[in-house]
């Protein structure tokens, strides 16, 4: 199968602190990779490097065959290929839901307004938020905001979706509505990299699990092996923290 993302020996350092080094990861089209690991292990930073929100000190990242580099001229068009959803939603507070969705397709891709609007409405209906199209972000619940944020990423037709702890800031009763959306995206064959702490969800959605600790990939494998037969002690310990 076609490779969408290739990460070769990537290192991230701040001054004298190494966040991670020698990261290698290949993601194929249609694959869902879930990254887990303790807080501060570098998994979020890693995800942010993938669309050059953070720079890297060594190695290279290829997205759909193109090198990801914040300094490159067409970084905008490279970033379009990676849709990102953040923990804190980060909808634009001065725009309505519909305007939030239409901003990038119209301004960046120069697509026709009518056509984008039609697509936005279809997507909103799919996540159950059609009635909220003219609301402002502050009028939505956390779960609703996060669903809008997912649609905002989807409408750019990205090759890959990067989801950075998208349920971490949500009230427990809203986690489900967001994860259901992600699960349905997985079923339709979207390529995704997901950083999460929701282990049951990870098991349900992942094609491949990756465990990062201390800035290294410690273990990776298919979800059954990963959860039922962890090979390393560190992963065993980590998984135990999630069960009573």
């Amino acid at each position: 199968m076609e490779e969408i993302l290739k990460v070769n020996n990537v290192c991230k350092r701040y001054e004298d602190i190494t966040v991670f080094e020698n990261m290698n990861l290949t993601v194929k089209k249609g694959e869902v990779v879930v990254i887990v690991g303790p807080s501060g292990c570098g998994k979020s930073t890693f995800l942010r490097c993938l669309n050059a929100l953070e720079d890297i000190q060594d190695g290279e990242i290829l997205l759909d065959g193109e090198k990801v580099d914040a300094a490159s001229k067409n970084i905008g068009s490279i970033r379009e290929k990676a849709g990102m959803v953040f923990q804190s939603y980060d909808l634009f507070p001065h725009l309505t839901v519909l305007q939030n969705l239409m901003l990038a397709p119209v301004k960046v891709k120069k697509r026709d307004k009518k056509e984008v609007e039609a697509e936005a409405l279809t997507l909103l209906e799919r996540v159950g938020l059609l009635t909220k199209k003219d609301s402002f972000p502050r009028q939505l619940s956390g779960g609703q905001k996060q669903r809008v944020a997912i649609v905002r990423a989807l409408i750019m037709h990205p090759e890959i979706l990067l989801l950075d702890e998208i349920t971490a800031a949500l009230d427990p009763e809203m986690v489900r509505e967001v994860l259901d959306v992600v699960l349905s995206l997985a079923k339709e064959g979207r390529t995704m990299i997901i950083v999460t702490h929701e282990m049951q969800f990870a098991r349900a959605v992942a094609d491949r699990m990756v465990f990062i600790d201390n800035g290294r990939i410690v273990e990776e494998g298919n979800p059954e092996e990963f959860f039922d037969n962890p090979k390393t002690d560190r992963l065993k310990q980590f998984l135990q923290t999630f069960s009573y």
């Binding site: 970033r79 849709g83 990102m84 634009f92 001065h94 301004k107 750019m156």
Partner: protein
């Protein structure tokens, strides 16, 4: 108080009122333009210019308008820059106001979370699109209370224009007191015209402020 005196003074005050309002608002628009440019330069750390801008803000925020006007109007002609009193009025007000507006805009820029920049970049927006579509609208609505406070402050500051012999409201009042000793009437009209000039701005201002707050914060 003598009503006839008041009525006979009114035309003089109306003329002075329009001059004061004209110079005041010219100065305010200049201040907004300078303030936005300076805040931009500082917030985005444009090399060299941001250093100059910081010096400018500190100098003008920490000196009185009256002294600035005296220097521009009486001092600068001695080294070859002569400008009319009227120009001096709104340029002076614009320079003073620019330093205050810059602070208002700057805190507006600072209030836009970094994550807004990141999510816009992640969507593929260019730096320019990011600034005009995402950062500026949010920064401005956050700056509204500061801007409005500055507008009122600057309109009040127009009262020093008489010192550079502009025939504004203060000048007219002082002149009439000196000439005819109808102090009560002259002062009464002075207060009335300043109320006419500032009360509507104050009322409309708090209305706009509430609206801007609602748009961004929903309260």
């Amino acid at each position: 108080m003598n009503l006839d005196v008041i009525i006979s003074y009114i035309p003089l005050y109306i003329e002075a009122f329009f001059l004061t309002v004209k110079i005041g608002w010219l100065g305010i628009f200049l201040a907004l333009a300078i303030g936005l440019a300076v805040a931009f330069v500082i917030h985005f750390k444009i090399p060299f210019l941001s250093g100059i801008s910081i010096v400018y803000i500190e100098l003008f925020r920490n000196t009185p308008l009256l002294v600035q006007l005296f220097f521009i109007y009486f001092g600068l002609p001695k080294v070859g820059f002569t400008i009319s009193a009227e120009t001096c009025g709104y340029v002076g007000l614009g320079l003073l106001g620019g330093s205050y507006m810059a602070e208002a805009f700057r805190s507006g820029f600072e209030s836009v979370p970094k994550s807004q920049t990141e999510s816009a970049l992640a969507l593929g927006l260019s730096r320019k699109q990011l600034f005009w579509s995402v950062i500026l609208p949010q920064a401005i609505s956050q700056s509204v209370p500061g801007i409005l406070a500055n507008v009122i402050f600057l309109l009040k500051e127009t009262s020093v224009f008489s010192a550079i012999s502009l025939m504004d409201l203060m000048f007219t009042a002082k002149d009439l007191i000196g000439l005819y000793y109808d102090t009560k009437e002259a002062l009464f009209l002075l207060v009335v015209f300043y109320i006419v000039m500032l009360l509507p701005v104050s009322i409309i201002g708090s209305f706009i402020e509430k609206k801007a707050r609602f748009r961004t914060l929903g309260v």
